[in-house]
C-alpha cells in the first residue's frame, strides 16, 4: 500500500477546519500476510491428564488436516495489529456521531465494568436457578423499569436486537388474532418506516401494505380509515417517526385500528425522544420493542450486539416467549409451561450482558435523570434545526423532537448530493448523519445529535455544515470528491458488489 499521506494540498477550505488535523496513521497488513510458521501468541498449561491420540478417539477420518493459512503471529504483533486497525475507525469517543435513527450516545464505561462482574459474566445459562438468583434479579429489575418507562404491562427480554424484537412483537399479534379465530393477512406500514418493518412482517407470514405519509409527514388518517379492514392485523408505526416528528394523531390512530380489531405496533427505535415525557402504553400502543443499544446507551460495537426487549399490554402477555420470569415470594424462577406462548425466539434468556449494561444506565440516571436526558436530546436537535434551516431545505415543517431531517434540494441543484455532503463532513472531524433515509425525503440528511453532545461540539458541527453549504456553491466538485483528510479516500463500492472478494486468499 502506498500514498497513505494526508493530501492536504487538496483541502481547499482547510483553514476553516478547527476540529481535525492530520496525525500519524500506521499501515498494517492483514493477519494472513503477517503470519509466519511457528509464531505463537499463546501458551497452554501443561496437561494434567494423559494425552489422547486424536485418530483413535475420533476415528482417523474425523481428524482434520492443519488449518491452511490460519494466522500465526506473536502476541506483540497481535496487539499491534488490532490497535492499528482500531485507529482507522471513527467512534463516539472521538466526537459527535449524528446518525439519525441510530441514537449514537455516549456509552458509559461503568456499564462495561459491571457487565464483567465475575458472578454475572461467568454465569452459565443452565446453572441451577438457586445459584442464579442475582442474574434473575437483574432481569426482573430491568423488566419492571422498562414496563414503567413504556407504560406497558409486561416485558420480555429475550429478543437479541430491534429487528428480532419486531419479529417477536408481530408473532405475538398473530398468536392473539389466531386465538380469536383469524390471524388476518396484512400489516400496514408507513412509507417512512425502517426497512426492518416490512422485512419482519414478511417473515411473520404477512403481506405488507404501505401507507403514504400525509403532507405533514405523519400517518394519513383518511388513508388509514380506508385501509383498515378486517384483513389488517396491525399497523407498525415509529413514533416519533423517522422525520423526528411526533404522531399527533396517535390516539386517534389507535382508535381506528382497535375499532376494527387490529393492533398498534410501535417501533421503539426513537424512544430517546419520549422517555419520561410520554409513554406508548398511555397513547394506545399494544406492543412495542426497545433498542437497548440506542436509548439505553449500550455500545453499538461496530454493529452489535444489541438487545430488543418487547413490551406489551396485558392482553398479549400469555403469548410472550418461553420462558417467563416469575417471582414466588423471595425466589425467582423461569416458567416454561405456557400453553399460549409463541415459543422461543432465541436460546436461553436474552442478551444478558447487554441487559446488565442497560440497567446500569437506568440506575445511573434514575427516573428524573432519564427525563432530563430526553429533554437535552430534543434541545440539541431543535437547536441544530434552527441553526441550519437558513442553509438547508427542510421539507417537513412540523416541530421535530430528537432528530431533524433536511433534504439536499438546494445543494443537488449545484450537483452535490447528500452523500457528498456526508463525505465532506468527515473532513471536518465528524461522522456523517444518516444519508438518504427516510425515503419520503428526496436526498435526506437525517441528523440525530443525542443528549450527550455539549454546546461546543454541536456548534462546531453546525459551523462545519454551514461551511460545507458554502463550499457547495463555491466549489461543488471539491465536495463531490471528499473526503481528503482520511487515511482511506472514497471507496469504490460498485466494484465491491460487482466482483465480490469476500475472503483473503494467498
Amino acid at each position: 500500500m502506498s500514498d497513505q499521506g494526508m493530501n492536504e494540498s487538496r483541502m481547499v477550505h482547510g483553514d476553516k477546519i478547527t476540529k481535525v488535523t492530520t496525525h500519524l496513521s500506521q499501515n498494517e497488513a492483514l493477519l494472513f500476510e503477517r503470519s509466519s510458521p511457528g509464531k505463537k501468541a499463546y501458551q497452554l498449561p501443561e496437561l494434567d491428564v494423559p494425552a489422547v491420540d486424536a485418530a483413535e478417539a475420533l476415528g482417523a477420518e474425523n481428524v482434520r488436516a492443519e488449518i491452511t493459512d490460519f494466522p500465526e503471529v506473536s502476541e506483540v504483533e497481535a496487539i499491534r495489529h488490532f490497535t492499528r486497525l482500531s485507529t482507522w475507525n471513527y467512534a463516539i469517543d472521538y466526537g459527535m456521531y449524528p446518525l439519525g435513527s441510530c441514537t449514537m450516545k455516549y456509552n458509559p464505561r461503568i456499564n462495561e465494568v459491571v457487565a464483567r462482574t465475575e458472578g454475572l459474566a461467568w454465569a452459565h445459562p443452565y446453572q441451577p436457578e438457586s445459584l442464579s438468583q442475582g442474574c434473575l434479579e437483574v432481569m426482573e429489575h430491568l423488566e419492571n423499569a422498562l414496563a414503567e418507562i413504556c407504560g406497558m404491562d409486561a416485558v420480555t427480554l429475550q429478543p437479541a436486537a430491534g429487528a428480532h424484537g419486531e419479529l417477536t412483537g408481530i408473532l405475538l399479534i398473530r398468536a392473539l388474532l389466531e386465538k380469536r379465530g383469524n390471524p388476518r393477512k396484512k400489516i400496514l406500514i408507513p412509507d417512512s418506516a425502517h426497512g426492518t418493518n416490512p422485512a419482519t412482517a414478511a417473515i411473520a407470514g404477512y403481506a405488507v401494505e404501505n401507507i403514504k405519509s400525509s403532507e405533514t409527514g405523519g400517518v394519513d388518517l383518511a388513508a388509514l380509515e380506508q385501509l383498515v379492514t378486517s384483513d389488517v392485523a396491525a399497523l407498525m408505526v415509529t413514533n416519533p417517526n423517522t422525520l423526528g416528528v411526533f404522531e399527533n394523531n396517535i390516539v386517534r390512530v389507535a382508535e381506528i385500528l382497535h375499532k376494527k380489531g387490529a393492533m398498534l405496533y410501535m417501533d421503539g427505535a426513537n424512544m430517546n425522544a419520549l422517555v419520561g415525557i410520554a409513554r406508548p402504553g398511555d397513547f394506545g400502543v399494544d406492543v412495542m420493542h426497545l433498542n437497548l443499544h440506542k436509548t439505553f446507551s449500550t455500545p453499538h460495537g461496530g454493529g452489535g450486539p444489541g438487545a430488543g426487549p418487547v413490551a406489551v399490554k396485558k392482553v398479549l402477555e400469555p403469548f410472550l416467549p418461553t420462558p417467563r420470569l416469575r417471582r414466588s415470594g423471595k425466589k425467582l424462577t423461569f416458567d416454561y409451561k405456557r400453553k399460549h406462548s409463541i415459543g422461543r425466539v432465541k436460546s436461553y434468556y436474552g442478551n444478558f450482558g447487554v441487559l446488565v449494561r442497560a440497567l446500569a444506565y437506568i440506575l445511573a440516571h434514575g427516573g428524573p435523570g432519564l427525563k432530563n436526558a430526553t429533554m437535552d436530546a430534543v434541545l440539541n436537535a431543535v437547536y441544530i434545526r434552527k441553526a441550519l434551516e437558513p442553509y438547508f431545505d427542510l421539507p417537513y415543517k412540523s416541530p421535530n423532537m430528537h432528530e431533524v431531517v433536511f433534504s439536499d434540494d438546494r445543494q443537488s441543484k449545484l450537483g452535490v448530493r447528500t452523500g457528498d455532503i456526508a463525505k465532506r463532513l468527515i473532513d471536518y472531524g465528524f461522522h456523517p448523519y444518516t444519508v438518504s433515509f427516510p425515503m419520503i425525503v428526496h436526498g435526506a440528511l437525517m441528523i440525530e445529535p443525542t443528549e450527550t453532545e455539549g454546546r461546543l461540539e454541536i456548534d462546531s458541527f453546525i459551523n462545519a455544515m454551514i461551511a460545507i453549504a458554502g463550499e457547495c456553491e463555491t466549489d461543488p466538485q471539491m465536495v463531490k470528491n471528499a473526503p481528503y483528510n482520511t487515511r482511506t479516500s472514497r471507496v469504490d463500492e460498485v466494484t465491491a458488489a460487482r466482483k465480490p472478494v469476500l475472503r483473503w486468499k494467498p
Binding site: 452459565h124 414503567e148 428480532h164 425502517h194 460495537g301 422461543r344 445511573a364 469504490d492 458488489a497
Partner: protein
C-alpha cells in the same frame, strides 16, 4: 448529571436560541392525552460506586466459586487477556455499523479477517459478518435453503441443540415451513441415517444436523450429505462447540454451516450476547442473510474494504429481503477474531487436543452412555440415583454437575450431559467421579 455535558448557562443559551424559555416548552406540541403528567416511578440516579456495589451484590448470589461440568451449547474456555484489551478500545466499542467505509476501515478489515478465518475453519467459501447467535442462525439457514431449493419442508435431527430446534419451530410456524424431526441411534447417539432416509421426500429443502451433536458426538456428515443431496435438499451443519473445529474434520460436504462462536472468548454471561455465523458454498452467496464485507479499492487505488451485496438486505429490499436482520454481533465477533489470532494455527489444535484429553480422562471414570466418538462432552446414564439427587450431592461439594437431560429428552431422564474443557482440573474430575460412582 455526569452523562449530560451542558452547564446550566449553556443550556439556557441554547433554549433561548430555540426561542423557548424552558425545556418543557419543546414538548408543548404533544397532545395532552399522550403525555405523562407525573415523574417516572423509578429511583433517583446513583453514583458509579453504588452501581458497582449493586451488581457485586447480585453477583454474590450466583455460582461464583463453583466448579462446573456444564456444556450443552455454552462452554467454559479461557479468555485470552488480549481479547478485552482489544474490544475495550473505544474505536471498536463505540462505533456504528461501518456504512461510512472511509472512517470504518478498522472494523471492516477486522470483519474481512473474521470472514476469512470462519471459511478456513469450516471449509466453506463465504461467511457472513455474524448472526445474533447459533440458535437464530438455524432458522435463517433453513429459510435460506428453502429459498435456494424452492422446497418448503425442513428435516432436523433430534440431536441438534433442543433450544435451537425450539427457535426453528417458532420461526417456521407462520411461514408454511413444515419441520419434521428424525432420530438418533439409541446405542451410539449418532444420527439415525435410516430414519433420515425414510423421512426424506421430494418436498424437503433442508436437512439440518449438528456436529459434534448435542450429546457431544462427532457425526457422519458425509453420509448425511449424500442422502440430502440425492433427494435434492441442502445439508445444513450446525456447531455449538467451535473449539472442536481445531481438531475435528470440517463439514466440507455441507452446503450451509450455521454455528455458534461462544467458545471463542465469549463469556457465558447467562446466555448472551454470543455470535452466530452462517457460512456457505459460493453458489449460495446471494441467498445469504446478514452483512458481508468485501475487498475493493479507494480512489487512490489502495486496498480498502466495504459492506457489500446489500441488495439482499432489509434496508434496500424491505419485504423482499433475505432476512430482517439489521444489528448483528460485530463486537462479539471481534472477540472471536482476537481469540483465533491469539491461538492461531497451532494453538487451536493444541487447545482442542487438551479438551479431547480432559473429556476422555473423565470418561474413563464415569462411563459414557453412547458408543459414538465424542469430543469434549458426553452423556452418562446414572444407576440407582436420579440426576437431581446426584446434582444435589455435588452442589454440597461446590460442584455443578452435568445437565439433566429429561427436560429435553424424556427417554434420557436417567442421564446427564457432562463437559470437560481445558479449564477442568484433574482433581475436580476425580471429585465429581467420586460422588457419581
Amino acid at each position: 448529571m455526569r452523562y449530560l455535558p451542558k452547564s446550566e448557562s449553556e443550556r439556557s443559551a441554547m433554549l433561548e436560541a430555540c426561542g423557548v424559555s424552558s425545556p418543557e416548552e419543546l414538548f408543548a406540541h404533544l397532545p395532552e392525552a399522550a403525555r405523562l403528567n407525573r415523574p417516572l416511578n423509578l429511583a433517583p440516579g446513583i453514583s458509579e460506586y453504588e452501581i458497582v456495589e449493586y451488581f457485586r451484590d447480585r453477583a454474590a448470589s450466583t455460582a461464583l466459586g463453583y466448579t462446573s461440568f456444564l456444556g450443552a451449547g455454552v462452554y467454559n474456555h479461557f479468555r485470552p487477556v488480549l481479547v478485552d484489551t482489544v474490544v475495550s478500545r473505544g474505536e471498536f466499542l463505540t462505533s456504528y455499523t461501518p456504512y461510512q467505509a472511509e472512517i470504518a476501515q478498522g472494523t471492516l478489515t477486522q470483519i474481512f479477517e473474521f470472514q476469512t478465518m470462519i471459511c478456513q475453519l469450516t471449509g466453506m467459501d463465504v461467511a457472513n459478518a455474524s448472526m445474533y447467535d447459533g440458535s437464530t442462525a438455524v432458522p435463517e439457514a433453513a429459510m435460506m435453503a428453502v429459498r435456494a431449493t424452492g422446497k418448503g419442508r425442513v428435516l432436523i435431527s433430534k440431536s441438534v441443540h433442543p433450544e435451537y430446534r425450539e427457535v426453528l419451530a417458532t420461526y417456521a410456524k407462520y411461514q408454511g415451513m413444515p419441520v419434521a424431526e428424525f432420530g438418533y441411534v439409541a446405542e451410539s447417539g449418532e444420527l439415525d441415517l435410516e430414519d433420515l432416509e425414510r423421512q426424506m421426500d421430494g418436498l424437503t429443502g433442508a436437512v439440518i444436523i449438528q456436529t459434534p451433536n448435542f450429546f457431544g458426538i462427532v457425526e457422519q456428515v458425509k453420509a448425511a450429505a449424500e442422502i440430502a443431496h440425492r433427494h435434492g435438499a441442502l445439508l445444513v451443519v450446525v456447531f455449538t462447540e467451535a473449539v472442536s473445529l481445531g481438531l475435528v474434520a470440517p463439514p466440507v460436504e455441507a452446503d450451509i454451516v450455521a454455528g455458534e462462536l461462544q467458545s471463542f472468548a465469549i463469556s457465558p454471561s447467562y446466555g448472551g450476547p454470543y455470535a452466530g455465523i452462517i457460512a456457505v458454498k459460493e453458489k449460495y452467496i446471494r441467498q445469504m442473510p446478514g452483512r458481508l464485507v468485501g475487498q475493493t479499492t479507494d480512489s487512490r487505488g489502495n486496498r480498502a474494504f466495504c459492506l457489500t451485496l446489500s441488495t439482499r438486505e432489509q434496508h434496500i429490499r424491505r419485504e423482499k429481503a433475505t432476512s430482517n436482520i439489521c444489528t448483528n454481533q460485530a463486537l462479539v465477533a471481534l472477540m472471536a477474531t482476537v481469540f483465533m489470532t491469539v491461538y492461531g494455527k497451532q494453538g487451536l489444535r493444541e487447545l482442542a487436543e487438551q479438551n479431547l484429553a480432559k473429556a476422555h480422562y473423565l470418561a474413563g471414570k464415569v462411563k459414557p452412555r453412547f458408543s459414538g466418538k465424542f469430543f469434549n462432552e458426553f452423556v452418562v446414564k446414572l444407576e440407582g440415583k436420579t440426576p437431581e439427587e446426584i446434582n444435589k450431592a455435588l452442589l454440597k461439594k461446590k460442584i455443578i454437575g452435568g445437565l439433566p437431560l429429561g427436560r429435553f429428552y424424556p427417554e434420557l431422564a436417567d442421564s446427564v450431559l457432562l463437559c470437560a474443557t481445558e479449564m477442568t482440573r484433574r482433581t475436580e474430575m476425580d471429585a465429581l467421579a467420586e460422588v457419581m460412582a
